[in-house]
């Protein structure tokens, strides 16, 4: 079905990233997993199969790629559209339409399929992937998991023989991953050829027939499903792969708590921590009752209808707290309220006997956003750090920068850095602002093992300075690596805050 022979490739303007003498044969109906560290060439292979290389991304290419009997280099991308379907990593940027129906029919319309056939294919995909509840909605209102499902459907509607998935789970929670797994199983049942590039191995390990481990653009190892299943976590970690079982263990442990429907505890017994930071009256809702000129003030009495209602919570200092809960449970709202981004939230924060509320909360907290590109504004790393200081202090800024391993990058433009470095610049500016509470929104989505371990170590180090670190995450591995406590939120209510075993 897919045959790559003696392929050499490197991207235009880049020295190292690329493939070297790469050869692989993938049979019809086979499911193959590509794994390895970031930058090992996984995505490049997928781009070769769907023709984005050499038709969209340019570079130097030698060797041959044949897909379904067609030589990719002599094919046009639209000829491949009905043969190869691709689900991409970022759910935000793979939609062309703004509504779900339009997105599912988009590919077929481009290829000039008869309207009746388009409708038939759409109906088939909708019923088989159980998408009825999502039809007729705006894509901008959907959660990441729902978007990814629509992406799968729009690819599926083209009825291609080959399905490519490029780290499709990076932005998904466990439940959404479970649904994604079902979609992949459904494709497999239909005899499609599937190639998945992924860091999170636990959910694909039972679906794939063959696992290919890549390093620096070459195949290093190849296993079949049984052999791969027998690898110990020790062996996996030596290869720099994420474990195949830890997530399941954690889902077992936390998942039951998160996904069970039982009422959240009323947390009458708030545990106090020595020198902790306490949050009080955390009430917030997105639809505040409005009068003509003023908004109704939020209060405890109406809290039953609020999006977020946590009357009291004590957070321990010097510890890393993992914030868990399913998509839409209110984790992001919780973080936004703590950093003072929701002006109507009635939160009061008490630390060292001093209570702040309203606008002053902003000073206490700092959030490192999921997409750090949104929070880097200036033209150099040093300027970025100094921007956060009340009084600009160059020495202190340089010290913070080198403490975070960015020595030598002081004058670099933040946008020229790698993702992990950008994250550290954001952390440096948080430290420069003397924030006591540091919040991280999904800091490890889409990272390989090495990068994730680095983030975990950094979080633990940051906590040592008597700060409160809260990490919102879907990554059970990150929790197991660095979290001292887990804080679970469900439907905007506190479920528990407890020590990790």
């Amino acid at each position: 079905m897919i045959s790559i022979k003696d392929l050499n490739f490197h991207y235009k303007g880049s020295q190292d990233a690329g493939l070297h003498d790469f050869s692989i044969e993938i049979n019809s109906g086979e499911a193959v997993l590509l794994c390895g560290a970031s930058g090992c060439g996984k995505t490049t292979i997928l781009r070769l199969i769907n023709g984005l290389i050499p038709h969209y991304y340019k570079g130097e290419l030698s060797g041959s790629v044949t897909v379904n009997g067609k030589d990719i280099q002599n094919c046009e991308l639209y000829d491949l559209a009905s043969v190869v379907g691709t689900v991409f990593q970022n759910p935000r940027s793979q939609f062309f339409s703004v509504d779900t129906d339009g997105e599912i029919t988009f590919g077929n319309e481009n290829l000039g399929i008869e309207p009746k056939e388009i409708i038939r294919r759409k109906d088939e995909v909708v019923s088989e992937l159980e998408l009825e509840p999502l039809l007729g909605k705006s894509l901008f209102e959907l959660s990441g998991g729902e978007k990814q499902k629509i992406a799968c459907a729009s690819v599926s509607a083209l009825m291609p023989e080959i399905m490519l998935l490029d780290e499709p789970s990076s932005n998904l929670d466990w439940k959404a991953i479970d649904e994604l797994k079902k979609v992949i199983e459904y494709w497999k049942g239909k005899g499609k050829t599937i190639v998945i590039s992924e860091h999170r191995l636990w959910y694909v390990k039972d679906i794939v027939d063959r696992v290919i481990f890549m390093k620096n653009g070459r195949i290093e190892h190849e296993w079949n499903r049984e052999q791969f299943g027998k690898l110990t976590s020790q062996e996996l970690s030596e290869l720099g792969l994420r474990p195949t079982s830890v997530e399941e263990k954690y889902i077992e442990e936390f998942g039951k708590g998160i996904f069970s429907e039982d009422k959240s505890s009323d947390n009458n017994s708030i545990q106090r921590y020595e020198n902790g930071i306490s949050l009080k009256d955390m009430y917030f809702t997105y639809d505040i009752p409005k009068y003509f000129f003023r908004k109704k003030k939020l209060n405890a009495a109406d809290s039953a209808q609020y999006t977020l209602a946590i009357p009291e919570l004590d957070l321990p200092r010097g510890k890393v707290i993992g914030l868990i809960g399913k998509n839409g449970a209110g984790k992001t709202t919780f973080l936004r309220c703590i950093c003072g981004l929701e002006k109507d939230c009635t939160l009061k924060i008490t630390s060292d006997g001093e209570t702040v509320s309203g606008k002053k909360i902003v000073k206490k907290c700092y959030m490192v956003m999921q997409d750090v590109n949104h929070q880097l504004f200036t033209d150099s790393v040093r300027a970025e750090v100094m921007l956060s200081m009340d009084e600009e202090n160059r020495e202190k800024a340089d010290k913070l920068i080198s403490d975070l391993g960015l020595y030598g990058y002081e004058d670099t433009h933040p946008m020229a850095l790698s993702g992990g470095q950008k994250q550290r610049v954001a952390i440096a500016s948080a430290l420069a602002a003397d924030s006591e509470i540091l919040l991280f929104d999904e800091p490890t989505s889409g990272l390989d093992r090495a990068h994730m371990t680095a983030v975990a170590e950094m979080l633990s180090a940051l906590a040592k300075d008597n700060r409160v670190i809260i990490v919102s995450t879907h990554d059970p591995e990150l929790i197991s690596l660095c979290c001292d406590y887990t804080l679970c939120i469900e439907k905007g209510r506190l479920k528990y805050l407890r020590k990790c075993q």
Binding site: N50, G51, L52, H55, Y56, L77, Y78, L80, A81, S82, G85, T86, F88, N90, R92, S93, Q94, F95, F96, S97, V98, D99, D101, G102, T105, F106, G107, N108, E109, N110, L111, G112, I113, E114, P115, I118, I119, F140, S154, L158, R336, C339, G340, L341, V362, K363, C365, Y366, M369, N373, H374, Q375, L376, F377, T378, L387, S388, M415, S429, A433
Partner: protein, 234 residues
Amino acid sequence: MRKLELDPRTKLFMIFAISLIVMVNAYTPLQMVIRIIVTAIPILLMTLEGKYAAAIRFAVLYAAAFILQNYYLSAGSSGLLSALITGYCGIVAQFMPAMITAWYAIRTTKINDFMSAMQKMHVPDGVSISLAVVMRFFPTIKEEYESINDAMRMRGISMGGGKVTKMIEYRLIPVMFSCVNIGDELSAAAVTRGLGAPIKRTSANEIKLRAIDYTTMVVFAVSTVLFMAAKNIG
């Protein structure tokens, strides 16, 4: 199934007609009446498509400006406050009709319908695809802008330290970076699904000009002609 959805071509025609109307000052009562009619139609269409909140908001805003301008402000009124109100009402009453129609057209048109309408008008693919991408990008830019705004507020630099240039720079640079990235990924995803194929595009939702489309177009055409002629009729 399809309630009262107008063909995208009709909506384009409405925007065209109303743009002509707002560009000319209204003097005679006939012109006033025409203005009110062409403003009321898109508002009515909005309610028919279930966009009640927006319809009411636009209607109230326009009515307030119109009434204030015509009944409470006279050529003789003076003072800063009335100058401000006059200016505000003048702009709203003058240009609001075009804004309402444009809002209605953008909010109620699906990209697929828009593309097939463009195709039926024999607009080259290059032009219609670019316009479709622009439509697709509005909500994205809004999302990106909002997150950046949040990030700035969190760092307490939303005012840019008082410097206007900094304020703009800090906002624009991240917006531009993420829009370029998103745009790049977006087009990669679109071409793998056959966008740009030299094949006649089809549409699952076939668009057709129906009686209601013709009626609307005639109403707008007649209004425009009458409006333009009114000055001369007198």
